[in-house]
Symmetry: C2
Subunit: 194 residues, 2 copies
Amino acid sequence: MARKQGSHAEITGPKVRQAALRLFARHGFAAVSMRQIAAEVGVQAGALYLYTPDKQTLLFDLMRDHMEELLSDWQVPEGCAKLALEAFTRHHIRFHLARPELVFIAYMELRNLEPRNFAVIEGLRKAYEDQLESILKRGVATGRFAVPDTKLATLAIIAMLTGVTTWYREGGRLDRDAVEGIYWDMVRKAVAVE
Amino acid sequence: MARKQGSHAEITGPKVRQAALRLFARHGFAAVSMRQIAAEVGVQAGALYLYTPDKQTLLFDLMRDHMEELLSDWQVPEGCAKLALEAFTRHHIRFHLARPELVFIAYMELRNLEPRNFAVIEGLRKAYEDQLESILKRGVATGRFAVPDTKLATLAIIAMLTGVTTWYREGGRLDRDAVEGIYWDMVRKAVAVE
DNA sequence: GTCTATAGCGCGATAGAC
DNA sequence: GTCTATCGCGCTATAGAC
């Protein structure tokens, strides 16, 4: 397919999303201007509107794609609930450490979504929580786990695991495998039958 | 002390802080304008500057006062590490559930602080984390707790407990005491010697 | 596809009347 | 202590040249 001089749509589109991702994560959606994003990409502000209808959609697309990838990347293992819980724990940490900026945005910018967009993201988030809760329920039903309230335990575990993104830094004291192991140890014990 | 007609400094000052608290928590610091705050208080935008030098200070004062109260409200119990950990857990949940808006702001608006203000808040946050870590270290030293890494466990526990503010609603399925008990059960088991 | 220019608006903060 | 008025600026989004 022929390409006009100065035409870089295939490159510039992703670069716009990438720049928005970095700046939203660093400064927050409301604090970032379209001019800043354009400067990061290396185009004029007006040119951004070739790649997104508006600033809100830029945010929503980042969050929706992130949540959909989180869900599609994960398959509940069938067998033993304990193995499923370990797989969930390790996958959650791996997935979140691999894309800290998206995680941060998906967590912090919910209130900047328009109501319709918010509902979509909340639905995806709920679906993800249900994955963990079903594992906990399974373990409780088979007597492998002891949790007083599966819904609350689901939220507590996800909060604990997601917190890893607030302090983990590449090249720090612990590598990713070590972090996974330590968190799994705490999760395992927290739901254990005494 | 005589009061001029139309003078309401003793009332308006706190109302400004209160309005800023509500609006920052709901929409985020960067998304809230001084005009919105003024409208909430029932004065004109210019009048706000009688009570704060600028918008940044309004945010910083809310966060600093919150963190200082969090610290001053808490005294580490001397004796048994397990009792100290239970006291910390229950106090953390009680304190956070009692002021969800301040908690939300202290957590979400760190990146909107100027560097000097950020350093102050980070210092207070670190001091609070140290309270919990010292309890965990004490328990590990006396063989009451088994945690592979006290620093990581500190952050994991705080993340888990603070997460309660994201879902707890007054008048919901569980009251505050029940929530405290359930979280304490998970924390207790997570650090337990097997 | 990207540019320049700009419409139309809201912002934080200040000045000065009352 | 609060008001009105305003400065100077930056914002999102669009129009139209190239």
